[in-house]
């Protein structure tokens, strides 16, 4: 068991290595831990540094997710989305969070599959929900929503009740619902 580092110490190590490419963001709240923000271009280097550098050795990618900053003024993230990487080291028992701003009109980030296999499905889910593509991920199919689903439901401009997908199954509705039973007559409103 190595020595566990605080997020502050980890951002310090990162700043030493990457200098200006890295900015540090302290979320509101007393107990909130520091979050490092890196550009999309230096994301791969930063992640592989975090994984392999002695003393850090983040060997477990807990989750990949995203945040939609639409209608939310966050000075440290100037783009609409941010991809979020939650890391944990089973060797040193410390955690770290990394964010990458992702622009709306060109929504992609490099994949972390080469570094951690657990990125495979986490990135699929993030793509499914936010429409962010992960370049290098070999399987970018939708994970939770049906494969022909048109929208990205966790985007803030997606309506909670959807855009009518839940009432429209083209493959079944073309021929009408199954009739009979005591169901409402023409009950589909």
């Amino acid at each position: 068991m190595g020595t566990s580092l605080t997020p502050e110490q980890i951002t310090e190590r990162l700043s030493k290595q990457f200098g200006d490419e890295l900015s540090v963001h302290l979320p509101p709240g007393e107990s909130a831990a520091q979050v490092a923000i890196v550009s999309r271009e230096s994301l791969e280097d930063t992640l592989s540094f975090l994984q392999s550098e002695a003393g850090l050795e983040f060997d477990f990618l807990v989750d990949v997710t995203a945040v939609d900053y639409l209608h939310f003024d966050e000075p440290s993230i100037q783009e609409r989305f941010a991809a979020v990487y939650q890391l944990y080291s089973t060797i040193h028992n410390h955690r770290f969070t990394l964010k990458t701003p992702v622009p709306e009109d060109d929504a992609w980030v490099p994949s972390a599959v080469e570094l951690w296999g657990s990125a495979l499905w986490a990135e699929r889910e993030t793509h499914d929900m936010y429409g962010i593509r992960f370049k290098g991920n070999p399987d970018m199919r939708r994970l939770l929503m049906p494969e022909d689903f048109p929208g990205f439901p966790l985007r803030k401009d997606y309506p909670l009740r959807g855009r009518g997908e839940r009432d429209a199954f083209p493959q079944y509705l073309d021929s009408g619902p199954i009739s009979g039973g005591a169901g409402k007559e023409g009950g589909g409103e």
């Binding site: 689903f149 439901p153 909670l160 855009r163 199954f169 073309d174 619902p177 199954i178 009950g187």
Partner: protein
């Protein structure tokens, strides 16, 4: 008919229909489609305390081909609905459907993009159970309602006609629509 006098006290005459109905309603084989907490209540209904066996419906079949009563107990998402329909199609006629709980009947509290707002949009439901989740007594009540429905069905043929499924020959439908699209596209293309 006077036949009874001839046959004596040990033989009862009746119609095939009423015997079939009697057999069906007292030996319903449920196909449990449990996707949420309603399924837990369904399990409670099946087990000793409430004992669905008292009404002849204890033989849970996990193969739709052996079941004649579908109990939709739980949320049905838009990804699950085609699965539910496929399973329903595999059940042999005659068959009945119970929509158990608020979610299966109306979407319940999950008024969201991914949840089907009532399976009755796509399935012929014979009995709805309110509740979130309903008590086992409610499910037993629904079961007895289904038995009443079976009892009241006029004749076999009519029941069959009523439940004829015009809607689910999906493959043919899509093929037709595809060929129609191609036909429409060809003249403009050439």
């Amino acid at each position: 008919m006077g036949l009874e006098k001839l046959l004596g006290d040990n033989i009862i005459t009746t119609s095939v229909n009423s015997v079939a109905k009697w057999a069906r309603k007292n030996a319903l084989w449920p196909m449990p489609f449990g996707t949420a907490c309603c399924a837990i209540e369904m399990m409670a209904t099946l087990s000793g305390r409430f004992d669905m066996a008292r009404f002849g419906a204890e033989v849970i079949r996990f193969s739709p081909r052996q079941a004649d009563l579908m109990i939709v107990s739980g949320r049905i998402s838009i990804k699950m609905m085609p699965v539910l329909l496929k399973i329903y199609e595999q059940m042999p006629e005659p068959k009945w459907v119970i929509s158990m709980g608020a979610c299966a009947s109306s979407g319940g509290v999950f008024d969201t993009y991914t949840l089907v707002q009532g399976v009755d949009q796509f399935l012929p439901v014979h009995c709805y159970i309110p509740g979130c989740p309903p008590r086992p007594e409610s499910l037993l009540d629904a079961l007895m309602k289904i038995q009443e429905i079976i009892d009241e069905e006029d004749s076999d043929e009519e029941a069959g006609e009523k439940r004829e499924n015009p809607g689910i020959e999906t493959e043919e439908e899509t093929e037709e629509s595809v060929s129609a699209e191609q036909g429409a596209a060809e003249p403009s293309g050439s």
